[in-house]
Amino acid sequence: MTSTQAAPRGVDGVAPAGTSPTDAARTPSPALKALGYLGRKLGLFALTLWAAVTVNFLLPRLMPGTPADAALSKLAQNGPVSEATKAAIEAQLGVPTGNIASQYVAYLHQVVTLDFGISYTFYPQSVGELVSAALPYTLVLVGLVTVIAFVLGTLLGVLAAWKRGTWLDSVPTLVGSFLSAFPYFWTALLLLFFAGYVLRLFPTSGAYGPTATPNFSVEFLGDALYHGVLPALTILITSLGGWILGMRNTMISTLGDDYVTFAEANGLKPRTIALRYAARNAILPNLTSFGLALGGVVGGSILVEQVFGYPGIGYLLFNAVVNQDYPLMQALFLMITVSVLIANFLVDILYGVLDPRTRR
């Protein structure tokens, strides 16, 4: 309404001739546009990354006690430990020395070279070994489930909004919000107990059969899949509701928008209106949360992995934290943060693709 908004448009293209030049001015080379878009994003990306890296450095050091103390406390449970023991442990673990500043420099170097050295808890394994061992399971399990949950939830949400007020609306929304109120670990425990121990339908722990060694044979993959069912189910049950509600609410809003009314006035097929018009616009805001969720995947779902003894990142992280395993913790935190950042970044790009408005 205010003229400054309208300013770049100039006066409406009354004559065809009048439109084209202004339009030409309005659309610069796509390359340029993309560049600027990426540029801004990358800038923020880098800054946030640095801050995150630094926080990751500080956090573990805020915790009282040293890694050696953690190790000792474990030994101390099996009888007293001699002075020499502590010395030996510290020698084995290579507990950090020097002042914070020098540690920070060393750490930054590690970050750049992506070499986080030896884990304290799992000495003498390197952080790299551990992470690369755990990552695939988390990625596949949690990643896959997150995507499934998002897709499924969104579809149900669309249905609920479109069939507003019918059972197709009330059932998914109510059940969804109830399920999403379940504590993760609780759902996990119940599933574990009933499906695992009482009915003995599924294995109760691990990512694959006890005797198997990871490889890409069909048997192994099948086995792994079989072991993944319960954890996957847990995550699905508890995260589905959120997606349903999110999509339902945004879509109900878009259903009230004028372009939907106009589409009706033009007698478009209900399908088209529901999907191409209402849903298509409603999904955009949900993408952002999906981005965060995707990023969070790498963090695994600590509680679930904990309950199912699933050898993923979450389990690793928990061990790292309780054992003051600085190197491991830092690597994991960095990984998680970066992946969240990257996921957001990608979603932003995707947004640009899906929503022409952001391209302008």
């Binding site: 406390s73 001699s82 020499a84 808890t121 000495y123 006890p210 990871p214 389990y315």
Partner: protein, 563 residues
């Protein structure tokens, strides 16, 4: 469309709470009816596991196993203890020594140890085991201090090896050191380790040892060890294979037909024995759980306060709360009963057990200047006696015990707070002496001298803020140090026994630590495939699955159906 009648939102609160409560209770009842049909888990052993194979909950991956059989590392696989053997096996439960790779040792003087090395032992790769290997191992630990977890080189000065003997010269007269050196040093083969680039990081993927078992299949979630057919006492080893899974949750242990596990299961009768599979259990005391007073702080440095607190405790109740009634209250003597009865000082009234006696406790407190006023125990200035007990987060039996102590001391008017930081922080506080009272374990090393030395010797004492590795309460008494010094060099068992009696009196009278209850060793066994497990009737070894005592068990079992 909607009329804001301001009253309506609040109406559910107003309308007859009772009805709501009934509704809620109804809900609770619904839950309870569900709960009523309680489910008895039954053990269902995996039929694919043959009779000569034992399923053991000994080693926990977190959550995966790393193939590390270097016996000198903290994170070694537990089975390394079944592959590498010490010179003697010390059963810490009843302080008995079992000759092992050494047929025995003699101490001509308090600073010399002469080991007679067993003959006819071979390494699992066929090579002969010799005194040289022992010597090599000692040298290895000397050259790589970071591997010397028990710090034997803080005792050893020099050593030399004969054909079938190894002579160790200590840097100072120290009789008990012999036991430590002999029982904690796992001997490794020179012909393999000599070529190892850096033993401090070597993971020893294909272990070669003298022990009863050799490595079988290794997978990240489970590995097996197979019987070493030419083990030097092969005939005593019944189990052909041991299976060690990486995750042994209590549910697994109970449901999957484990033969041997070392873990506390609450309601063991119902959950473990009840699960069938001829399950049995034995929970002997493995150490004393005690409260360490901080003797550098007033008023805890006043023995009367400590006596008062100690007498105010109902140790049985504490033990019950902590270990659900499976552990006995501990005597104020720092020795494990019944296993170490022979060490017990007969003059100490009912074997050191101090029974709750509030009146007496109040007398002690009065002697320390504390009197009860309005249920509060206050000093002359009227300040209440208040203290904080530090325990470690996650050590739940301790926590339960502490809560019980809190109750009982609260009853006599002491204001007790509980702190439970993460283990690391707890350990730091304990070692630095930055606490009022701290939970901790004492004794149970299997060596009477060390049990008392760790608790009482001023050699450990460090100023507050510096890490002490023992004697966290910072007890220091020249007289006691003198006793310990004598003990250290005493070769004559009679003298040792006499000194032990004195030390028990010290603990009983001066309360350097307030013994609460015995920390259990939680042995779970199944007689389905193997029998001859250690038990109350036949307490020949600790039920532990780690360290060297399992060697005693593994060499004593019998197969059930020998075919």
């Amino acid at each position: 469309m909607m009329q804001p009648t301001r009253s309506r939102p609040r109406s559910p609160l107003r309308s007859r709470p009772l009805a709501r409560i009934r509704a809620a209770l109804a809900l609770a009842v619904a839950a309870s009816t569900l709960a009523a049909c309680s489910i008895q888990i039954q053990s269902a052993p995996d039929p694919s596991i043959p009779d000569d194979t034992m399923l053991v909950a000994a080693d926990n991956g977190s959550p995966l196993f790393e193939k590390n059989f270097n016996p000198f590392m903290i994170n070694k696989r537990v089975a390394a203890f079944y592959m590498y053997e010490p010179l003697i096996v010390l059963d810490n439960l009843n302080a008995q020594e079992h000759p092992w790779l050494a047929t025995g040792y003699t101490q001509p003087d308090p600073s010399t140890i002469l080991f007679d090395i067993r003959q006819g032992v071979t390494w699992s790769d066929g090579e002969d085991f010799t005194a040289e290997d022992v010597g090599f191992t000692f040298q290895l630990l000397k050259d790589n201090p970071s591997l010397d977890l028990q710090g034997i080189w803080s005792y050893i000065d020099t050593f030399e090896t004969g054909d079938d003997t190894v002579t160790v010269h200590l840097s100072a007269p120290d009789v008990p050191a012999a036991q430590l050196i002999a029982s904690t040093t796992l001997i490794v083969p020179e012909h393999i380790w000599a070529d190892v680039e850096d033993p401090t990081t070597w993971r020893n993927p294909d272990p070669v040892g003298t022990g009863p078992y050799t490595l079988g299949n290794f997978a990240p979630q489970q590995y097996t060890v197979d019987k070493n057919q030419d083990y030097w006492q092969a005939d005593t080893v019944a189990a052909e294979h041991l299976i060690l899974p990486a995750t042994n949750t209590q549910l697994d242990v109970a449901t999957k037909g484990y033969d041997w596990a070392y873990s506390f299961i609450s309601d063991v009768e119902g959950a473990w024995v009840g699960a069938g599979n001829q399950n049995t259990y034995w929970f002997p005391p493995g150490g004393t759980i005690a409260l360490f007073p901080n003797l550098t702080k007033a008023p805890y440095n006043d023995v009367n306060v400590r006596l008062g607190l100690s007498t105010a405790l109902d140790r049985a109740a504490v033990g019950d709360a902590a270990a659900e009634g499976y552990m006995d209250p501990a005597g104020q003597t720092n020795i494990l009963l019944p296993n170490q009865e022979d060490v017990l000082n007969p003059d100490i009234p009912d074997s050191g057990l101090i029974s709750q006696n509030t009146a007496k406790a109040l007398d002690y407190f009065a002697a320390a200047g504390y009197t009860q006023q309005g249920g509060k125990l206050v000093d002359a200035s009227g300040a209440q006696l208040s203290l904080t007990i530090t325990t470690a987060a996650g050590y739940n039996d301790w926590l339960k015990g502490v809560q019980e102590v809190q109750k009982q001391w609260g009853a006599v008017g002491v204001d007790v707070k509980v702190e439970s930081p993460q283990p690391a922080a707890y350990t730091l506080a304990l070692r630095n002496g930055e606490y009022d009272f701290a939970m901790g374990a004492t004794g149970g090393t299997g060596n009477t001298f060390r049990d008392f030395n760790n608790l009482l010797s001023s050699e450990w004492v460090k100023p507050v803020g510096e890490e002490a590795s023992n004697n966290f309460e910072r007890f220091s008494d020249p007289a006691v140090d003198k006793l310990l010094a004598e003990f250290k060099v005493a070769l004559d068992p009679a003298v040792q026994a006499d000194l032990a009696d004195h030390l028990q009196e010290v603990v009983y009278d001066q309360i350097p630590s307030i013994s609460l209850y015995y920390g259990g060793s939680w042995g779970l066994f199944s007689d389905a495939k193997f029998t001859g497990w250690p038990s109350a009737d036949d307490p020949y070894a600790s039920p532990k699955t780690y360290e060297s005592t399992p060697l005693l068990v593994l060499t004593s079992l019998k197969k059930v159906n020998d075919d």
